[in-house]
Amino acid sequence: MFDERRSITGIVRGLWITFRSMVLEKPVTIQYPEIKRPVRTRFKGRHVLKRYENGLEKCIGCSLCAAACPADAIFVESAENADDERYSPGERYASVYEINMLRCIYCGYCEDACPTEAIVLGDNYELSFTNRRQAIYTKEMLLETVPQAGKPTPQKVEPGKYLRAVPEMQNPTD
């Protein structure tokens, strides 16, 4: 048997709690499409292919991300760089770079595997598709915009300047 006296005071206290939260508390709702909350610094959203300051792509088409991907979501095809048509430093660049966002589990292993820090999981979480074709993000969609100091790829560069494929890297600061 339950204690009637306690259950009645319990009901009254419960009613008081709900009433208080209605009158005193401000709604926590965020009007989403108009107002967006900032994501955390290490949030794993949609991938971004990074560029150097001068506009060259960081990706060298090594396919290590595709090898690391547990969901087999990444497809990379590489091609040879030339000095008068240069996409990235070093010998090769990614001519095709596709991520199937329906397969991707946003684990970030591709980020860890990348030797040049070219692929980074970004802030965008608004991924929605109406068919499967749309879920495949191509290189053009993933590449970040050219920085102000740089030029778009392919670039015509002086020979022998961009031989080193892997950049100098530092520990993360955030």
Binding site: I11, T18, M22, T29, Q31
Partner: protein
């Protein structure tokens, strides 16, 4: 019978029906808004200013939904059940007065549809009919969850109807009449009956929650056990009719509670401005509806055996005691 009187009745009935249907539409919005605020949310605010067009959007959605009839359902009863549920909910308001008398174009019109001398009895009789709709809906769906929901609902409504009917008796004994208009006039003289019948009012409020299948007594719709209860197999406008019946019954029992215990349409300046009557009734109904929504937002659903035990072992004896106490006091005071 003169035709103008007939016309007057038709107009009043149409106005009441329209008011109830609009009231139903906006009660859904009211409930969603209040629930949202209690849960520290905003609630619907996209359709129109403050979400005021949300009921319209819901109606359009429901109209375009597919109407499904299960293959082995009893078609006639399946189609009839929502209608049987809605009609009593709509007709029950006929005896509730929403004002005294007003004069339009030199004609005195009383602001109630049927001022009958057995108003309370009428309410009890009509309120019991809607349980048929529910149990028939559950049975004709040919679905075990629906059947169980319907049977539970019947058992629950019959159990709580006892306490509900006995809660009606207190005001009847004090007023000495079953006419709702006269019950209100007595309340004008001696004050609201909630002062004289606090226990009766409390029993009435709790029993009406069970009677209209609202939380925490929404046992027939316990979704964890019975999916959606008696309306599991209903879709589209047939589902909307059940929904409408539930919400219109909420409005109706709130109006009846306001009439019996909270002075009905009475309020300040009602003598000089009889048009204030419907407004006062609306305010009282809105407050009582808020109470129902508030209770829904607060209390979890009762377990079924406890619900029945509470109805038979607490509510029923308590309402009998209340009647005995009322009778003794009336005899001692002298009526």
């Amino acid at each position: 019978m003169d035709y103008i009187l007939l016309l007057e009745w038709v107009i009043k009935a149409v106005i009441l029906l329209i008011a109830l249907v609009i009231g139903f539409a906006y009660l859904t919005l009211y409930e969603r808004k209040v629930l949202a605020r209690i849960q520290v949310r905003i609630g619907p605010n996209r359709a129109g200013p403050y979400g005021l067009l949300q009921p319209l959007a819901d109606a359009v959605k429901l109209i375009f939904k597919e109407e499904l009839i299960p293959a082995k359902a009893d078609r006639v009863i399946f189609l009839l059940a929502p209608v049987i549920t809605v009609l009593p909910a709509l007709t029950i308001m006929a005896v509730v007065p929403w004002g005294d008398q007003v004069t339009i174009l030199g004609r005195t019109i009383s602001l109630s549809i049927a001022n009958i001398n057995v108003g309370v009895l009428y309410i009890m009789a009509i309120a019991s009919i809607s349980v048929y709709g529910i149990v028939l809906a559950g049975w004709s769906s040919n679905n075990k969850y629906a059947t169980m929901g319907g049977i539970r609902s019947t058992a629950q409504m019959i159990s709580y109807e006892l306490a509900l009917s006995l809660a009606f008796v207190g005001p009847i004994m004090i007023a000495g009449t079953m006419n709702l208009q006269e019950i209100i006039l007595v309340q004008r003289r001696i004050g609201w009956f909630v002062i004289w019948q606090p226990v009766g009012a409390l029993i009435f409020m709790i029993a009406t929650l069970a009677e209209v299948n609202r939380a925490p007594f929404d046992m027939p719709e316990a979704e964890q056990e019975l999916t959606a209860g008696y309306h599991t197999e209903y879709s589209g406008m047939k589902f909307a009719l059940f929904f409408m019946a539930e919400y219109i019954k909420m409005i109706a029992v709130s109006a009846i509670a306001a009439t019996l215990f909270f002075g009905g349409y009475l309020g300040p300046f009602i003598d000089r401005l009889p048009w204030l009557g419907p407004l006062y009734l609306l305010i009282k109904v809105a407050i009582l509806l808020f109470f129902m929504i508030w209770v829904r937002a607060t209390l979890p659903r009762f377990r079924y055996d406890r619900l029945m035990a509470f109805g038979w072992k607490v509510m029923f004896p308590l309402s009998l005691l209340n009647i005995m106490a009322t009778a003794i006091v009336l005899i001692l005071v002298g009526g």
